[in-house]
């Protein structure tokens, strides 16, 4: 059993890596590129923002990213209404020539929790418009089922608030979501260190998406490699089937043949 013949399939597209990473918050573009490489990710998120028309000296993100190697997943970060999110997705499609988007519609700045009412509204419009929609959502099985019914290609429940690094706070709801929907379940947000990613994967989710957990680490490139290994280790452990938890010991060595 290995991870090589274990593909993640989203809307008919196959990916070997189950780790998706963001491109924000790095100290430099060079550091970002090295971290992406170390992460082994194939899908990377990007944000859509106004071009600075007064200062054109800044380098463009796409000067650093090999778009043949990575699948760009534009997000709607910072959008608080369905209307803004839909506009952003349409711009992203025009800029990137791809219809796959990470849809997020936020409820407030303090928690960055999703506004699921607006999220569902935007998802409906975008699916009708031909987008492959990957929605960031709260870890709510009911909302996830609604997103699947609308036609979203995956659901991406949070493990904890964006950038919090608190880990998978409610593994039980994540498990219920996995039992509730047939589309891939990607844990998006909350991962703080490698064990968090492994815990998510051991639950059996299809993938993990993170940005701050890598970019905010003291050594982002090393943490990217750690996340790469953790996601693969967690996936393998899930497929291998862990032992049941028991309160008391069971000896590993035979009892027969002891010296007397």
């Amino acid at each position: 059993m290995s991870t090589t013949n274990d593909k993640l399939i989203i809307a008919g597209r196959e990916f070997s890596s189950r780790l998706m990473v963001g491109t924000g918050k790095y100290a430099s573009n060079e550091q970002m590129v090295a971290a992406l490489e170390a992460s082994g990710a194939e899908i990377i998120t990007v944000a859509v923002r106004r071009v600075n028309i007064t200062d054109r000296s800044k380098e463009s993100l796409l000067d650093f990213i090999d778009t043949k190697k990575y699948t760009l997943l534009p997000n709607t970060a910072g959008c608080y209404t369905a209307d803004d999110a839909v506009r952003t997705c349409r711009l992203a499609r025009e800029a990137g020539m791809s219809d796959m988007v990470k849809l997020e519609v936020l409820g407030n700045e303090k928690t960055l929790y999703p506004d699921n009412e607006e999220l569902l509204k935007a998802a409906k419009i975008l699916v009708k418009d031909g987008f492959t929609v990957l929605p960031y959502t709260s870890d709510d099985p009911i909302v996830c089922k609604k997103l699947e019914d609308i036609g979203c290609a995956a659901v991406m429940p949070l493990g904890a608030p964006i950038g919090s690094g608190l880990g998978i706070r409610n593994p039980y709801t994540i498990r219920i979501i996995m039992e509730t929907v047939k589309v891939p379940v990607i844990v998006d947000a909350g991962v703080g260190t490698a064990s968090d990613a492994a815990i998510a994967m051991e639950l059996g989710v299809d993938g993990v998406l993170m940005n701050t957990g890598i970019a905010g680490a003291q050594n982002p490139i090393a943490m990217a490699e750690a996340m790469n290994l953790a996601v693969r280790a967690g996936r393998l452990a899930y497929r291998a089937g862990r032992i049941p938890k028991k309160l008391y010991a069971t000896a590993s060595s035979p009892i027969e043949g002891m010296i007397e």
Partner: protein
């Protein structure tokens, strides 16, 4: 005439969208444009002539999560 580019009012002479991008030193291949709230397809930059009061959003990809 005056146009609004990314929220900023700018004096402009009648020109195409492509000419505007060139005057701003923007590579047309790397951006997406909304003209008065509607997507302007890349193939129409050259044939689209700007009008007084046009609201233009020029966006590109930046790092994000």
């Amino acid at each position: 005439m005056e146009i609004i580019v990314n929220g900023e009012a700018r004096a402009a002479t009648p020109m195409s969208m492509l000419e505007l991008l060139r005057s701003l030193d923007i590579d047309p291949r790397r951006v997406a444009i909304e003209l008065n709230h509607d997507i302007l397809p890349k193939g129409e930059y050259e044939s689209t002539i700007l009008n007084d009061g046009d609201r233009i959003e020029i966006v590109h990809f930046v790092g994000g999560g």
